[in-house]
Subunit: 241 residues, 2 copies
DNA sequence: CTCTTATATAACAGGCCTGTGATAATATAT
DNA sequence: ATATATTATCACAGGCCTGTTATATAAGAG
């Protein structure tokens, strides 16, 4: 094996269920079908837009985790909106959808910043799988952001925010621990897991050090009225909704 | 705009040219076609494998930046090899290739850890675009690794290595600066760019601070016989091959 | 060539991060 | 209920990180 230590599980870890999707398409019938299918396949939340203007507004309002974007829209085309989103700092996955399966379109879409491109009529299972693949990749990206019951965690900035807009800076270690906790949610994370994930194999550290770091994290979270966020489950920790 | 400050360029930044691809397919004719097409489209380096055994060996030997993987192979199937790679800690993009365009296969492939899935016969332009899209995403991921003329830089571990195996730890700021330099290569990076990228808009910092950090980086690099790596170009810095 | 400006090098010091020791509180077992 | 083990809380101190100040060197202008 290339790396015998990292045993990565490509299991569910319910990415879909925690995802908030935005579907942009002018065909309201298709939107209806997508809504039914996606929600029944476990998508957490779903917003819809029929025009680019509407999509722009909803992107700001809901900051979706992933955008499904049709190319042909009444007030413009999806390629331009995709690039607009990218230039606005929107880094999350965009899956383009189109009736035309032209190679030119696909290249155009992908080179314009889309993450994936599916031709209509698309198969719902494939769409779900591609959505999952995108969410999985994004969750391992540099600029991932986590949210849980109103609290935002931005690893790249090393801060946690609450709904009131208060934000508290985290240290390096605190950020790594919290990242592991968020990524593992709703599962628990043992101290041994934290040891190997955060400190690696060179870390001559006892589990007591972890307890101290958790204590400090809780202190900071308390200042955001989120003292309940980290709960102890036996010899492990877990994020609490 | 969602974020008026981040103006991301989805331009070339020659990801393809610096990429080392591994093509796994038992059809040697197809491999030949792919080789010709990919290299003529600017792919930097390309390795080939006709069997899983061979693919396994070449993955370890060359650590390719991206794997193009056929499903049907003489000594096993691509799905299993894909999962094997993931369980071995291989995090880089895998694009699966298959004659069958069954939805089941696509779902199976993507859920098994593949990043993308293309049905044969594939169009070379689409393949290139999808390769580019994957490389782009990977370059923004957590576990990206950079290499330049024998020097390895692993942002996640905050270390630089040379061919002799010597490695030197970097500080947070040094890592961020080096990451920006590698990502921008072969372009130059001005001090203003470093200011906004590394320190952001709250940083009450003069450009002189950057000069000091570059100095410290060069000191460490000198210990790896890589003193030439960072060169000064006017008011900017650049990585030197 | 001289003056001016930009960059490189070096040393300094405050501050934050982090692991550990010590004690209290809580959970678990017998 | 008592003893034992585990976890939480708090204080401490060494060390590393980082921005700044100071000086030397190099580059560029006129």
């Amino acid at each position: 094996m290339l790396n015998p230590y990292s045993e990565i599980e490509y299991m569910a870890s319910d990415l879909l269920g925690n995802a908030n999707l935005l579907v942009v398409d002018d065909d309201s019938l298709l939107r209806q079908v997508l809504r039914d299918q996606l929600l029944s396949h476990g998508v957490g939340q779903l917003e819809e837009a029929g025009t680019i203007a509407e999509a722009r507004q909803k992107t700001v309002q809901y900051l979706p985790d992933l955008v499904i974007l049709d190319v042909e829209l009444p007030d413009g085309n999806g390629f331009e909106f995709c690039q607009y989103l990218r230039n606005s700092g929107f880094e999350r996955p965009i899956i383009m959808l189109t009736g035309r399966g032209d190679e030119t379109d696909i290249v155009h879409g992908l080179d314009g910043g889309a993450n994936d491109y599916i031709a209509k009529p698309m198969r719902i299972g494939e769409l779900i799988a591609r959505i999952n693949a995108q969410l999985r990749q994004y969750s391992a990206s540099d600029d991932v952001r986590f949210s849980l019951s109103g609290f935002d965690f931005v690893p790249a900035d090393k801060i946690v925010k609450n709904q009131s807009g208060q934000s508290i800076p985290l240290t390096e270690k605190e950020t790594m621990i919290l990242k592991k906790l968020f990524r593992s949610w709703p599962d628990t994370v043992t101290k041994e897991q934290l040891l190997s994930e955060v400190w690696g194999y060179g870390g001559n550290i006892t589990t007591h050090t972890i307890e101290t770091h958790i204590y400090r994290l809780r202190q900071k979270l308390r200042r955001l009225d989120a003292s309940h966020l980290i709960e102890t489950i036996g010899a492990a920790y877990r994020l609490n909704k």
